[in-house]
Amino acid sequence: MAALHFLANPARFRRFSQRVLPALWSVTALALAIGLYWGLVIAPPDYQQGDTVRIMFLHVPTASLSMAGYLLLAALGASLLVWRHPLAALMARATAPVGATYAAVCLITGSLWGRPMWGTFWVWDARLTSFLLLFFLYLGHIALNRAYDDPERGDRAAAILAVVGAINVPIIKFSVDWWNTLHQPDSIMRIGGPSIDPSLLWPLFWMMGALALLFVALVLVRTETEIDRRRLEIAENEG
């Protein structure tokens, strides 16, 4: 908590991120390279799905991380509303497009996976549908954030939306699962749980970590940009 309050000051945050980012980028690039080589080359093909299973190394981590990103967005929103941290607003602005991109990658890889599995690019599968709705929640956040002439109003409106949206994410997930079992009882894309082979599980965990690092690095870079942009706007207003 103390660290959060310390970093809430944009200038201090900027100094911190400038020190951390070069190292973070190198680690991220290395982790991604290892993860992709492991997942795409070393890991054995699935006995049923063959090489298509490798899509999982992008699909599953982006799914989890876009979900986690929305929780981060809600946490930033709450800290803006409760403590009025100026940095929380700028960081939320930076996070939403990254999270939306991850959700989009999850949807695209999911439908690419669906082509050989189902013979079509889109099936109203429970997971794909809930991530489509999560993607819409992200789009709503981004659009609301940028819909005001006064950027601070956009920040606060989007913060309220993020908090309400995060409360609704599990409800939406539950209702979509319910709807899915009602209409199509069996889903082909059952990944995770004890059934997955360890030779696939470890590269999956590795990719999860690598993509999480990439998420953090992108958010930090974009937050720096948002800080500069906000400073510029203020300077323009005063000058």
Partner: protein, 205 residues
């Protein structure tokens, strides 16, 4: 001279990261009328909104009879009457209905005698059953002022109350303000035109 009822100390507000004003301090006593003057954009409206707790100040204190008004917002709101730069009237309701609903929204029963006297003070008795959307801008402003006069609030916050008013209507406003002050009421008005008997407080550099 009575003692100060309203005390503002060190008030600072920011909008869009820009400082609007800093370290404002003043007091208003019972029966006083304070006219806020200053250039466009000097923060008159923001100050009024901060006093009404619509805009959170970044620093400073607003006290009423020595008590921080933020500690008991609802009690503070019962003492306030607010006239923004918008009239706050519903076009599809009549002038009298608008004022009656404003009274009920303040948690009080509608007082028809008070409404009638407030409307006649602004020479609106003949228009009281007309839908507000059929009135002219000046007439609507008078209805909004009658709403303030019928509010039973002790502190009136008025943003450009003289806007769109003709000569007789301005005179009526001055009379209503004089009666409010004689009863011990306070008023703070952001204005460009002079107000009778007002103490001036200039905002801006």
């Amino acid at each position: 001279m009575t003692t100060a009822l309203l005390e503002v100390s060190g008030l600072a507000c920011r909008r869009g990261g820009r400082r609007v004003f800093d370290g404002l301090s003043f007091t208003v006593a019972g029966g006083e009328l304070l006219a806020l003057t200053g250039r466009n954009g000097s923060g008159k409206t923001t100050l009024l909104r901060a006093l009404a707790l619509l805009v959170p100040p970044v620093a400073g204190m607003i006290r009423w009879q020595g008590q921080d008004v933020r500690a008991d917002r609802e009690n503070w709101c019962t003492r306030l009457a607010w006239l923004g730069h918008l009239d706050g009237l519903k076009g599809d309701l009549t002038a009298a209905e608008n004022i009656a609903i404003a009274q009920r929204l303040r948690g009080q029963p509608a007082d028809l005698d008070l409404i009638d006297s407030a409307l006649s003070a602004f020479d609106l008795s003949a228009l009281k059953d007309r839908a507000v959307r059929t009135l002219s801008a000046g007439q609507r402003r008078r209805v909004a002022l009658a709403r303030i006069a019928a509010s039973r609030a002790s502190l009136w916050l008025l943003d450009e109350p003289l806007n769109a008013l003709d000569g007789p209507a301005q005179k009526a406003l001055h009379e209503v303000l004089a009666r409010h002050r004689a009863a011990g009421g306070l008023a703070i008005a952001a204005t460009h035109a002079p107000l009778d008997g007002a103490r001036t407080f200039e905002l801006g550099i």
